[in-house]
Amino acid sequence: MTLDFEKVITDKAEETRTKFRALLDKTNKEHPSPKDLKALSDLLSDNRKLELWRDVLSAGHLAEIMVIENAHATAGLKECWKHRLQVLKKDLGYDGAPMLEQLLIQQTALCWLKLNLVELGYSNTMKQSITLTLGAYWEKRLSAAQKRFTRACETLARVRKLSRNTPALQFNIATSGGQQVNVAK
């Protein structure tokens, strides 16, 4: 993986984040302006090439690659983790899930993997005699990974619960090579 590829994806993700953050701040209230809501809706689904969705997916894939490739493990073990991630996603209903849920499943699986890696690093570090600073650093990393994973699970569960009676949440957008483009509104 080249650094440029990583930079392009992270820059795009940053751009998308800024656009969304601005519109979300305006619309997250009980009676948002219809104009702002329409702008947000357009940004979400009316983009013909659906580049924003791809940006989010790419950022997730990039994070997945970085987490696995930079882990201190053998190539064989990394392959096992990749396979385990795929199985986990499948178990969480990735295939056939609406687009939004797919994003959340990808995120949950990735956060689970990261938490496991941090826990492994934490227990390896704690076996040795370490400085207070290093201990605090690992505690902080572990706590952040646990928080990230819990939040991902909560969001997935919430969206699943809310989307039961809300067809408007059933975004289903074709991936490259697919045919279906069905964005429920």
Binding site: V67, A144, R148, A168
Partner: protein
Amino acid sequence: MGWERRGNHEYYYRKARDGSRVKSWYVGRGEMAHMISKFEGSSGEVGKLLRLKKSIEAQESDRIEATLDRAVELVQLFTEASLLTAGFHTHRRQWRRKRK
């Protein structure tokens, strides 16, 4: 670590702090002591390199976690945007459907 002159000869001592005091241990003199002092001088360099390597590894870990956090935040934003356009809003950090 240090060389100390006692009379006409130099002797090599190993120093270590023990609480508020610094203790000296005699190592030796002559060629053998010179060799030991060279090795011990290099182990400081090795320690420095190890610390540098650890700091580079920590920076790399931080970079990966920053990328992961960005990806997670982006998915959260998309989720919020989807919920908002589907007619939900937050009230005291809880998602509610808009009243009709």
